[in-house]
Each structure stands twice: as C-alpha cells, then as structure tokens.
Chain length 409, copies 2
C-alpha cells in the first residue's frame, strides 16, 4: 500500500471482508431496466454497531426502531433498506411496519429481528407496501447475498440519484490491513430536507463498540453533516457503521494509535461519500467546496462554511461560473460567525480575489474559466484564530427546479 | 372611512402629508426607458425617526452611518438612496462615501447632513460613483421634490425588482385621520441575502420618538422579518420610519389606544409591503403564505413558519402546484419548533390534507387546481398552545436560477 489509507478500485460496502449484500426490484418504485428498490446487507459474524440519526423533531418510525435496536447494545448482523417510500408521516402504522420489516428480513436470513437495522427512503405520507417488501427480501435471499452485492445494495437505495455512491478503502492499522467500505444515497442533497440521506459503512476491523460509538458523531460532523444546511436533517437521515472483526486485528480500544488510524479511515470513507453525494445533488453540474480557515473556533468555521455552501445566490453564481464574491461576503456576514471585514481574504480555486477586506484586481476571464471546471473551491481566511472547517455542496440549476416542482405528480 | 385602517388608492410614501419625494436617472445602472437610480425623500418638518437594520456581522458603511445618525437622537428630515451599487465590501472608502452622500443631499436640500439618512442597494464590492450620485441629487432638487414623487422614489430603489412596491393607508387615530405610506425594494427576496431589502415608511402622525423606536422592531418582526430566512439579513437591509406630525393629532404616547392604532397602521403598511416583496421575488409566479398556529409560543411559530416558507423543496412544489405535503412536515421537523406528530393538522388553501398526524384523503385534482392560483396558503395547526406566526415567501422557479447565475456578468 502506498500510504496508510488507499482507495480500492471498484470499492463498495462489501470491500470490507465478511460482508455480503444484495438488491432486487420488488415493484415499490416505477420500473426501469436498472432500477432496484429493496437491498440487504449481512455480516458473517456479529458486529459492533453505531449510528447517527436525523435531528429532526419529526422522525420516521424506522429511525425510532433503529435507535431502540442500538440502545439494546447487543451485536448487529445486518440491515434491510427500501427506496420509493420513506415510512414517514403515516401515523402509528409506521412503527408497526418498521418492526415487521426487521422480522421479515431476520426470518429470511435466520437471524434475530433485533440484529437487523431497517431503513426506508422516498415519499413521505404513504404506508410501506409490506407484501412487496417481503417479496423483495425473499427474492434477495433466494438468489443469495454475495460479496459482489455492494453495487446492487447501493442501487436499491437510490431515489432521484443519478448514480450509486460507493467507496472502499484499505487502511494499515498496526500492520494489519483493515478494509472499510460504504454506500450512500441522497438525491435532494442541494438542501437535504427530503427523506432521505442514508449512508451505510462497513469495516472488517475489530473495535470496541463504545469506541465506535464515540468516533462516529465526530466523523459525521466533519463529513456528512457538513453537507447539511443549518443543521437540517430529514425525517430519515441516517449514518450507520458495522464492524465485524474479520480483518483479524487486535480489538481496537480508545486512546491508541490504532483508534486514530481507524478514525482517519472512517473519516476518509465518509468524506468520499459526502463528495459523491454533493456532486450528484439534484440537477447539479458542479461540486462546491467551501473551506473556512482562521475562524475564532471550529464551530464558527462550520457555521460559516455551511451558510456559504447553502446560499442560493452563491449556488446560482457557481452554476453561472460568476465570480460574484460579494455573495460570499454577504453569506459569511449573515452566518453570524465572527468576522472582521478588514481581515478577510477570499480565494476562488486558489486565486485571491479579496485581501484584507478589499477587492483585489483579478483576471476575470481566467477566474470564470476556472469556475467552468468540475469543482469549485471557495476559501475564506478569516485570520482571527485557528478554527477551520470544510463544507460540501453543489450548484443550483434550472434542473433542480424541474425535478422538484412535480415530484409526486 | 369604512374601518380604522383603509387603503388609499394609488397610495405611496407621499400619501403621508408633508412629505415630498423625487427620483432620477443618474447613470449608475444600465439605462432603460423607465429606469431611475437616485431617489430622495424630504419632510417639510423635522421627524421622529426609527430604524431596524441588518443583523449581519458584515454591514454596509451606509448602515453604520444611519445607525450613528439615529443614535444622535435628533430629528431627521429625509433620506437619499441609490440603486445599482450597494456601497459594501469596499473597505474604508465606503464610510467616507456614505458620509459624503449625506452631505451632498443635505446641501442640495438646505438641511444638515445629520438630518439625512443614506441608503444604497445593488452590487457588492464596487465603490459608489460619487460624481453620479451628486449629479442625481442635483437633478432631483433642480426639478423639485413633490407630493407626487413617491413613485419615482420607489422606482429609483429598484434593482432586479420587476415593479415598484408602494402602499398608502389612512388610519383613524382618536378621531384624527392619520396617513401612513411606504415604499420598498427587494429583488432577491426568495432568499434575501443579496444587498438589499430597503423599506421606507412615512407617517404624518405626531408620535413620541421613543415610542416609535419601541414599536418598529415589533412591527418588523411580524412583517418584513418574516420574509427572511433563518434570521438572514444582507449587508444593507433596512427599515426606517419617519413621523412628521403633519396630521395635527395630539402627540401619541406609550400605553394609549392611539399608540395601539398607530402600531396597527404601521403593521398594516409593512405587511402590505412584505406581500408585494414576496410576490415579486426573483422569478416568482406565486405568493406563498405560511401560517402556523397552536405553537408552544410565538417564537416557535415564527421559526416553523419561516423554515417552511424558505424550504427549497416546498418552494419548488408550490411552483409545480404539487400538494407534496410531506415536504411541509419535513421542513417543520427540521425547524426544531416543538411539534407532536399525532397532533398536527395541515391545510392547503383551506383544504385539510392531514389531520392528527395522518393523511386525509383529498381530491387531488381540486387541490392542484387551487394551487395553480396566484396565492398559496399553507396552514399548520400544531395544537399545542397559542403561539402563532405568518411567514411570506414565493415559489422557486427556473427563472430564479437564470436571473442569479449571471448577475455580475
């Protein structure tokens, strides 16, 4: 391996050893040739598990069931997911269906219901079609889950995503090769309040569950949560990680170099998923990266970066390759992050366009040309202290409006 | 008069007696036949004055100058405004230019600089062209400010606004007819972080300045501030009110029925301006009204209403006349306003589509037809307590993206 973390070609969630997956089309979504809508993941061995869920005050009962499952503290074996219908906004039937979905999957895999996590994504306000869910689960288990099933699982999660999000990496942890893989979906990620962003990460590392649960929120705050707007989360947003120990390493405990290496690996996987999600934002044509440095503290940097990355005017300017930096300044100002105008430097793809609060003459055509590239990076140096953060987003295009103006019709 | 507050046909800011105004084209904006870019307002008599300004941490020096002027506590005589350039993001020159703009206007009107408020709106990062400002002021004063100058003033404030925003009302206050008029501009009001929303209100009521200053923030919080997103404000956002006493009423003091009548009149004018601003949001085709009732308290209701009205997915659904109420629920949930799913009722233009947290079968085609109307009202009854609020917004259209993807180019 060239370094401590290396990307695995064709990597996906089953890049992690000892995990099998599968997906099928059960008829929940409208049919198209490559469409799938039910997926499953199974670990050969019991897993330490951790989860980070939506902060919304209105949550899908599927999230409630997963919170209860994880609160139980016992090992987890796998998960089942459907796309097309979110299992949210349906009254008490949602909880009954989520529990039943775990039972259906557990029975088919010969594990216990409390060892299965359940996820749904899609339209709010429609009950889960349990017969189709059951049919999907049976199709997958009849065909058999496999080590090549990561891609079908990733496809089975998609709603208006234009392609699947998958990543796999190899990490050297104390001389042992550990693998981490992940899949994610999120279509309305330009402003992620639609149901749902779902991310599943699997690793073959052996790790104490308490450490995993301590790590995951930190990792989420520096990756997937920096894709969100103003702390936004949908009714179903979820990130879970399962660790099955198949790598054969000594169990990783807190405060060790091995813990740090695993944390870096998980962060790497989650940042890669975040970038894939941002790039595939509905209607997006550019990946937008906003780096804030020199903030009073990290929290200030996070607020500033997210506010800028979520500004409609900034997003529109990115779409038009328009170096309208006044909008960056306006968004920074309204973020309420501490800023002193005379100290601010702004950069667009490395080109300084404002220094110490004053416009710097720049070659406009050259910057416009840079902004026509695939990825736009705004860097805002506040020059106050050491706080820093990165947010990811995408541009706002006419296509976003077209997609979202008639989603249920 | 039919009631205590009645609308005046063709009302504008000079509907208030003793105020004269004017506007001209000075060459700051690109020329078109009906375009103006410098405007002025003058009261025949000294005015009690109050202002509410942007909460942004990065403000236009024009706002700074106005804050200083109002902090002085002395009477105000009028204001001068230009559109095209915001006087923000230009370093220390911005403060010098804002002070100079007051001097130019005051000299032309033969009043003192500290009696004039100054406003700019437009592109950030370009210095004010002071020669053009001076030329505009001289043109206006040479032609003479007049009682029919409210419309030219309103037009001189416009940036990408498609029409001027003007309102005038007549209020019976203790048997005396008081008039209140207002003008406003705000183009990027779909997400008001562009420079700038400006609203000027004039009244011929006689009122204690301390009372006026106490009233204005309350009025703003129930009108113009409910057009904003998550407390957003631009570098230049301003609402000012001038009261010159020309109505001849006894000076209104706090805690009286007259104070309550004036407050209602000011609120009426500001709500009318808010609705006009929302309806003319960039690219907008529908006015969106979000009413939240039964919240734990008013602040919760405000947060919920604003979050829903600013959701890209809700706005897109309004554009498409798509009764996708799941998005209302998702936005409500992420607003962090207290909500108990089983208690929520949702209405679209008076049609109940969710009751006690469960979808109500509704005639979809009928609701879609209602939503194709000019104005869409979502009412969310939380049924927890008595908190309530209304937010105003507009739909998100492809046109918004087109307008904003190449604003400076």
């Amino acid at each position: 391996m060239p370094g401590p973390i290396s990307s695995v070609d064709g990597g996906t969630i089953t890049t992690a050893r000892g995990f099998r997956a599968g997906g099928t089309y059960a008829g929940i979504k409208t049919y198209s040739d490559d469409k799938m809508d039910v997926g499953m993941l199974l670990s050969d061995a019991p897993c330490a598990a951790a989860g980070v869920f939506t902060k919304s005050s209105i949550v899908s009962p599927s999230v409630t069931v997963n919170r209860e499952t994880l609160a139980g503290g016992h090992p987890v074996r796998g998960l089942v997911v459907n796309s097309g219908i979110a299992n949210a906004g349906v009254g008490e039937q949602g909880y009954i269906d989520a529990k039943e979905m775990a039972v259906i999957a557990a029975n088919a895999l010969d594990v216990r219901p409390e060892e299965m996590l359940v996820f749904s994504t899609g339209i709010i306000g429609v009950e889960l079609p349990m017969t189709l869910i059951k049919s999907g689960v049976e199709q997958i288990t009849a065909a058999g889950l496999s080590e090549s099933g990561g891609n079908p699982l990733a496809r089975a999660m998609m709603t208006t995503d234009t392609h699947s999000k998958e990543v796999g990496v190899s990490v050297d942890i104390g001389g042992v090769e550990v693998r981490i893989g992940g899949v994610a979906k999120g279509s309305g990620m330009i402003h992620p309040n639609m149901a749902t962003m779902l991310s599943f990460v699997a690793t073959d590392a052996a790790v104490e569950q308490s450490l995993l649960r301590q790590m995951l929120p930190e990792v989420a705050d520096r990756s997937l949560n920096m894709l969100t707007v103003d702390g936004d989360s949908s009714t179903n947003d979820s990130l879970v990680v399962l660790a099955n120990g198949a790598a054969g390493n000594a169990v990783i405990t807190a405060g060790t170099p091995e813990a740090e290496a695993l944390r870096a690996g998980l962060l790497d996987v989650c940042v890669r998923l975040t970038r894939q999600l941002a790039r595939d934002g509905e209607g997006a044509t550019h990946l937008l990266v906003v780096e804030v440095t020199g903030a009073r503290n990290d929290e200030d940097a996070r607020i500033a970066a997210r506010t800028i990355a979520s500004s409609l005017l900034v997003k529109s300017a990115v779409y038009g390759a328009d170096p309208n930096w006044g909008r960056l300044l306006a968004a920074l100002g309204r973020s309420q992050a501490e800023a002193v105008e005379e100290k601010i430097d702004l950069y667009i793809n490395g080109v300084c366009i404002m220094e110490a609060g004053k416009p710097v003459p720049f070659h406009r055509d050259a910057v416009v040309a840079l902004m026509r590239g695939d990825e736009i990076t705004f860097r805002i140096a506040l020059n106050l202290a050491d706080g820093q953060a990165t947010a990811w987003g995408c541009d706002l295009t006419e296509e976003y409006v077209v997609i979202n103006s008639a989603y249920t019709t």
